[in-house]
């Protein structure tokens, strides 16, 4: 009844959608437009900006850091997806289906790292990875003195070490979302499948997996786009260094802003990040377009 009134009453439509539109415009649309405009300027952050044409974009696309940042972002996304979604789905499946005692405690333990602040997690993993007095190297040195590594100070190895820490922190979050989706699958599907003789594996791939597909899609988008905007953990652990070994697009933007103090250039990078993230999101949406299942 209410929905009929709402769909016919234009005033109600405008009244209720206006606050959302204004807030969305203020927080998302206008800053984006401003960033886009500023990306064509030279600006020191205080004085009047001057028009720079495409110079900032030229600087971006000729920067040696861009290739490293993009490769690192892909590595970051790939490991996040593999670790968080695979383990998240696995643990959620075990928690939903098993009859083990203290299930809730396990769930809480998996979720616990999500509650920790990024800086705490970063410091914790720094003390594990540190080349001179880190736990990992201490253990390796005990086994063989030559096994110790520069975990955070080498190309590829550095970004993998960081993303593993990030994955550990965020896995519980995705596990909980997937767990909630699995709990929402009606039990009678499983009962019918069991009567029909379907094995647990068959039930998972033919009932659970298709029915939580939309949830997995959201988690997938979150993991993939996070790789391109990853910042906090990297900044605290390595600041993108040494050199540009652990750069991502966000770190590149930060360095342009606070290192080079080129506000226009950093806005150009920001615009590029938005374009990449939106592009990826649309691609994933398109890929998952026909996967919505209802029994």
């Amino acid at each position: 009844m209410n929905s009929i009134i709402f769909s016919k009453n234009k005033f109600a439509q405008i009244l209720f959608s206006t606050p959302v539109i204004i807030i969305y415009s203020l927080i998302i649309i206008i800053p984006l437009i401003q960033a886009f405009i500023m990306s064509f300027t030279n600006w020191d952050g205080v004085n009047t900006a001057t028009y720079a044409g495409l110079a900032n974009y030229k600087m971006l696309f000729t920067s040696p850091n861009l290739k490293v940042s993009l490769i690192n972002s892909v590595i970051y996304s790939a490991i996040l997806v593999t670790y968080q979604l695979t383990l998240g789905t696995l643990f959620a499946t075990i928690l939903v289906n098993s009859t083990i005692k203290f299930k809730r405690i396990f769930k809480d333990i998996y979720f616990f790292p999500v509650l920790l602040s990024v800086s705490v997690v970063a410091q914790l993993w720094l003390s594990i990875y540190h080349g001179d007095f880190g736990l990992l190297n201490q253990i390796l040195k005990m086994l063989d003195p030559t096994w110790s590594q520069n975990w955070l100070a080498e190309p590829t190895k550095g970004i993998i070490a960081i993303v593993l820490a990030e994955s550990w922190k965020g896995m519980g979050y995705h596990m909980l979302i997937i767990y909630a989706a699995m709990r929402n699958v009606p039990r009678f599907y499983y009962e019918a499948a069991t009567i029909d003789g379907a094995s647990p594996t068959q039930q998972f791939f033919n009932i659970t997996f298709p029915l939580i597909g939309q949830t997995l899609k959201v988690c997938f988008i979150m993991c993939v786009t996070f790789g391109f905007r990853a910042f906090e953990q990297i900044f605290i652990m390595t600041s993108g260094g040494p050199v540009n070994y652990t750069y991502t697009m966000s770190i590149m933007m930060y360095k342009a802003l606070f290192g080079l103090q080129k506000y226009g250039y950093s806005n150009a990078i920001a615009v590029f990040i938005v374009v990449i993230c939106v592009g990826i999101m649309l691609m994933i949406e398109r890929a998952f377009r026909n996967t919505h299942v209802e029994y």
Binding site: K10, Q13, I14, S17, T18, I21, I22, S25, L26, I29, I30, I33, Q34, D44, G45, V46, N47, T48, L126, Y129, H130, G131, D132, F133, G134, N137, S148, Q149, N150, L152, A153, M237, T238, S239, G241, P242, V243, N244, K255, L257, F258, G259, L260, Q261, K262
Partner: protein, 455 residues
């Protein structure tokens, strides 16, 4: 129709907020100019009517926010300076705010919203930015009234004047150099002595490495110590060091720079740095030296104050360890680091009582100069005799005695002229220190990059 209405609403909302945003920034700029104008008039009026009022001002009431570095050794210096100010100006309240940025990002943001602190540390190129935006005001009137420069040793303020001949930001610092410190006990236990030239230095690094001690504790989580190490290496032949790149006076392909790169590369390959150097912060690096897990440390001469608890066990290299045999004595007095870095304490153009704020700020600087001597046994740069409360450590006293003998200084990297040059040199030296970047490539790439970098 509904779609049209919603689209219109969206467009109107965007335009409205965009215009409000634009209006705000324009207004800020406008009001900044106006305020500066008012401030200038006010200061001139005060100067005319109030030239003999400095002593009377000691009873004047006021409250000022001071944005300054307030950690490590600076904490006790600041506390003592505030105490001295309270003695002189009992009715003035100074609210200390810790400076949380070194790149001016916080101050720029505060400037954009018109909320700069009354008194703040304005470092490096930020001073020029704020002069251009009229966010800070000239200090000359108050300095002349107090005869401020004459309270200090000669040349303490050399280089602090801006291009228009005015002082906008002042600080009074004793000469500080980048030094290589060593743990005396570690050296004694391993039968080592401070090196006087490069072959001795290389041998020292190899011996420390063989003894499973990190030769040099480098807090490379910050980039400047690595760059300063390169600067020390260059000054063994070229007194200009990294400052030679400013204005293109020197080129990386010149012998002093290529030799420095090769020496540094060889030292890294010999194990100069620990595996975790790039993830080590200053506190961790200090601990490594203090506990004898590392043999050496590079830091500015302010480290003498930071290490006062264990200074008796800390020495520093008096000779440049990158010097070629035979040139030890000539390179000994080429210091890396700087005397007068641009910037210092500045006054916001929007402060309520600019002339009084200037007087308070200058007295605060004066109090800090005294506190640096009394509290941290720093070098006295005042003409007034100020004595430290505690005796300097042996190595610190040696440095204090040696300062006057230095023939040249370079700069600490944050004092270089452009952020582009700072970033380029930081990144390049960091690459060299990873050991995976050949010195020849370092020189070639640096030379090429310098051609396109504002210097």
């Amino acid at each position: 129709m509904i779609k049209k209405s919603l689209s219109m609403l969206l467009v109107v909302a965007m335009l409205f907020t965009a215009l409000v945003g634009c209006g705000k920034s324009d207004n800020t700029a406008g009001s900044s100019t106006t305020t500066t104008g008012e401030a200038t008039i006010a200061s001139e009026a005060t100067t005319t009517s109030d030239t003999t009022a400095i002593s009377d001002n000691t009873q004047k009431a006021g409250e000022f926010t001071v944005y300054t570095y307030y950690a490590d050794a600076a904490k006790i210096i600041t506390d003592e300076a505030v105490r001295l100010m309270k003695e002189k100006y009992p009715n003035v309240k100074l609210n200390i705010e810790h400076r949380s940025d070194s790149d001016g990002a916080v101050l720029k943001t505060r400037s954009a919203v018109g909320e700069l602190p009354d008194i703040f540390e304005c470092t490096g190129t930020l001073t020029d930015t704020f002069i251009q935006s009229k966010d800070i005001i000239p200090l000359n009137s108050a300095m002349e009234k107090m005869d401020f420069e004459n309270l200090y040793m000669p040349n303490i303020f050399a280089g602090l004047k801006s291009a228009d001949g005015n002082y906008y930001a002042v600080q009074a610092s004793a000469p500080s150099a980048a030094l290589i410190y060593y743990n005396k006990k570690v050296f004694a236990d391993n039968g080592l002595t401070p090196p006087k030239n490069y072959p001795e230095f290389l041998s020292l690094v190899q011996k420390l490495k063989a003894a499973d001690i990190i030769p040099l504790s480098l807090f490379a989580q910050q980039k400047w110590p690595g760059l300063q190490l390169f600067d020390i290496a260059v000054t063994s032949q070229e007194p200009l060091g990294i400052t030679g790149f400013e204005g293109g006076v020197k080129k990386p392909s010149e012998k002093a720079y290529t030799d420095a790169a090769k020496k540094l590369y060889d030292l890294v390959k010999a194990g100069l740095l620990g595996k975790g150097a790039f993830n080590t912060n200053a506190s961790q690096a200090f601990e490594l030296l203090k506990l004898g897990k590392a043999g050496m440390l590079i830091n500015g001469s302010w480290y003498f104050a930071d290490a006062k608890e264990y200074i008796d066990n800390i020495g520093y290299f008096e000779y440049n360890p990158f010097a070629d045999p035979g040139s030890e004595e000539t390179s000994k007095w080429n210091a890396s680091g700087g005397v007068n870095t641009p910037g210092g304490y500045a006054i916001s153009a929007k402060t309520k009582d600019p002339e009084f704020a200037k007087e308070i700020m200058l007295n605060y600087v004066l109090s800090r100069s005294k506190a640096e001597v009394t509290e941290t046994a720093g070098i006295n740069i005042l003409k007034e005799d100020v004595q430290p409360k505690v005796k300097r450590g042996e190595s610190y006293q040696k440095f204090a005695d040696n300062v006057k003998n230095y023939k040249s200084f370079t700069k600490f990297e944050w004092s270089l002229k452009t952020p582009d040059l700072i970033t380029l040199l930081e990144d390049s030296s960091e690459k060299l220190l990873t050991g995976s970047y050949l010195p020849e490539k370092f020189i070639t790439d640096l030379e090429k990059a310098l051609e396109n970098t504002p210097k």
